[in-house]
């Protein structure tokens, strides 16, 4: 049997449905006249499993899984990894430092830009944004150990 995109997608949704049912174990389902907090999640989880099954059964209409293009996956993974580092540092380093480092890293590591233009752009765009939010729009941004 050829593995198709909808086989994978359908299996994913079936797993999601099963996971929700497993996690709903301690939530009371209640009765029809007094539904509990587990009532609706279980109904929707069962529907998710059902639709996932239908998707899997009709998978022959979808693309072969091997033909799904993943050429942009490396770019995506790098962007996610660098943004995750930025998120981890955000409350610690504050808006200004984190975002200067985030934009600079994205430009240098992923886009292979030269250091000086990347640094100038990163500092410029972050400072302009900071002034716009903090001074013009009066929206306070996260501060770091240096008070900005």
């Amino acid at each position: 049997m050829t593995l198709r995109a909808d086989h994978v997608a359908g299996a994913f949704f079936i797993c999601v449905g099963l996971l929700i049912i497993a996690l709903s174990g301690d939530l009371p389902t209640g009765t029809l006249s007094l539904p509990g907090s587990g009532f609706m999640p279980k109904i929707v989880a069962v529907l998710t499993i059902f639709f996932g099954l239908v998707l899997t059964l009709r998978a022959s209409e979808s693309r072969v899984f091997a033909t799904v293009a993943w050429s942009d996956a490396k770019h995506a993974a790098l962007v996610v990894a660098i943004t995750a580092l930025g998120a981890a540092a955000y409350e610690w380093l504050g808006f200004l430092t984190t975002n200067v480092l985030l934009i600079f890293t994205l430009l240098v590591v992923i886009e292979r830009r030269k250091l000086l233009p990347a640094a100038t752009y990163s500092v410029g765009i972050v400072v302009v944004t900071y002034v716009l939010f903090v001074h013009l729009l009066k929206t306070p941004l996260q501060t770091g150990p240096f008070g900005f």
């Binding site: 929700i20 539904p35 942009d72 808006f95 941004l141």
Partner: protein
């Protein structure tokens, strides 16, 4: 009628306050830029800029955010006509004949017709909104839990039926959204659900991190920077005026697009996308020269552009009158008003007349601003596209983080955004449209509460939905739609929705 006109006059007095005019202008300007830039649609744009409105009052906030919404519809046409890149989804159809006109040296005329059509569609839509929304809100006050349940079920089924991707895919996305919407404290029993001892999840997952993740970050992850720079045609000012024949060719498509767009806008789903597709299909079907479509037919620009703007206005009817979002964008707008302490629904018109009428009046003003902004400044907007995407997307990521973090000052929301970005990337790979997920997330608490309240009211009898006239009518429409959808699904019949999916995927032209 007299009361409506008096209230509208009051709305204009609110809209013409200098600060409100400024925020309407700002919204229109940013919206046009959001529409022009490929890879950042109105949903991500509104979500990212939500924190900007925290320092404003509710009226100013909704005026600015709505300006971004309808401004993006105007801006989307610019990249479609000049670059054959739809700045946002509803401009897909404009690419076909708009770009063909540009290739023939009629880019300015195409932009002018698109702008005038958008203005007429938006303004006439507003006139109907002004007349329809207040009486509808009066009726909606009588809605109880069974009616709300039936209405929301109808909304979900309509969404699935109208969706350009398959019925099952749409329902799966809606289910995933409903499940995400159940995270947090259960309002009726106080139980914590799926919060994994994270206090931040007690209030549930917010719409902003989900929307920004799926539509902002997800789009960036799916767009490698190497393919983002294209040649740009920049029309001169004197080339903007269409000829008399072009005006004459545009007249009726604009009229039909206005009517069609507004009606479809009221229906849940990605109304502005569907309306532009249907308008194009109708114009081609009734044209005396269908062979000209795809080669620069004026009607192929005038109809879809008018329809998508009229649909954007139509989408505000259920939002303002019933408090029910018909699209993820209107859902974010509801969220924005709730942040400012205004609950949207049938009581909005009476409890917050300044917000309701000020907002309606500001849209009249905003549509004129957009007309004035878009034509003379087209070359300025187009020059934004000359910024290399490699420099643009790091800036968008920064705005995503600000937008998400500032809503609750919570880093957990930023992590949710990141997870949703990865999910959005994966969903695109498997041909899923994430929009129903966001809609499911928003209506989940309302649907669950109204369903459970209905069952408590009827002592567990499901027939309550068929024993009250309004809910009975809504349920019958739902059943009818399900039967129609199942018929096409079981018999594998290709209808207009299949064609729309193919055109959106760029597989074929109409």
């Amino acid at each position: 009628m007299e009361t409506t006109l008096l209230s509208l006059a009051h709305g204009f007095s609110v809209a013409f306050e200098p600060t409100n005019l400024w925020y309407a202008f700002l919204g229109c300007l940013v919206g046009t830029l959001v529409g022009v830039l490929p890879g950042i649609g109105p949903l991500a744009g509104i979500s990212i800029l939500l924190p900007v409105t925290f320092g404003l009052n509710a009226t100013q906030a909704i005026i600015m955010l709505a300006g971004i919404y309808y401004g993006s519809q105007y801006g989307g046409s610019t990249t479609s006509i000049l670059m054959r890149i739809p700045g946002e989804a509803s401009s897909v159809m404009t690419c076909i004949d708009g770009y063909a006109m540009a290739k023939k040296g009629r880019a300015g005329a195409a932009l002018c017709i698109a702008a005038v059509g958008s203005w007429i569609g938006g303004t006439v839509g507003l006139l109907v909104l002004t007349l329809v929304a207040p009486p509808l809100a009066t009726i909606a006050v009588r809605f109880g839990p069974p009616e709300y349940t039936a209405l929301l079920v109808l909304g979900l089924i309509f969404l699935a039926y109208m969706s350009s991707s398959s019925l099952i895919r749409t329902l799966l996305m809606a289910c995933l959204g409903l499940l995400l919407g159940m995270i947090g404290i259960d309002n009726m029993t106080g139980h914590f659900r799926y919060s994994f001892d994270l206090a931040e999840l007690g209030d549930g997952i917010g719409i902003v991190p989900v929307a920004v993740g799926l539509f902002g970050l997800g789009e960036i992850l799916s767009t490698p920077s190497a393919g983002a720079v294209k040649d740009i045609i920049s029309p001169r000012m004197r080339e903007l005026l269409p000829t008399r024949k072009e005006w004459s060719d545009a007249k009726m498509p604009i009229a039909r697009g206005t009517l069609l767009g507004f009606i479809i806008g009221i229906i849940p789903g990605s109304a502005h996308v569907i309306s532009s597709f249907l308008s194009y299909a109708i114009e081609r079907r009734i044209s005396r020269h269908p062979e000209q479509f795809g080669k620069g037919a004026v009607a192929g620009v005038a109809g879809p552009e008018t329809a998508n703007n009229a649909a954007s206005t139509g989408a505000f009817v259920p939002l303002l009158a019933l408090g029910i979002p018909t699209s993820p964008i209107t859902a974010v707008l509801i969220g924005a008003l709730m942040i400012h302490g205004v609950s949207v629904g049938p009581t909005l018109v009476n409890e917050h007349p300044d917000v309701f009428w000020g907002f309606v009046a500001s849209m009249y003003v905003g549509n004129i601003m957009l007309l004035v902004l878009n034509l003379p400044l087209v070359s300025v907007f187009v020059s934004v596209l000359r910024i290399p995407y490699a420099y643009l997307y790091p800036m968008i990521i920064m705005f995503c983080i600000i937008g998400v973090y500032e809503v609750n000052n919570s880093i957990v929301d930023v992590w949710i955004m990141l997870i949703m970005g990865v999910l959005g990337y994966a969903l695109r790979k498997f041909d899923f449209d994430p929009a129903p997920l966001v809609l499911g997330l928003v209506i989940s608490p309302i649907l669950e509460q109204s369903l459970r309240q209905s069952l408590i009211m009827s002592n567990g009898n499901y027939l309550i939905f068929f024993s009250r006239p309004i809910s009975l009518g809504l349920m019958l429409v739902s059943i009818g739609l399900l039967v129609l959808a199942a018929y096409a699904f079981v018999l594998h019949r290709a209808d207009w929705r299949t064609k729309l999916a193919e055109v959106e995927a760029g597989e074929k032209e109409l």
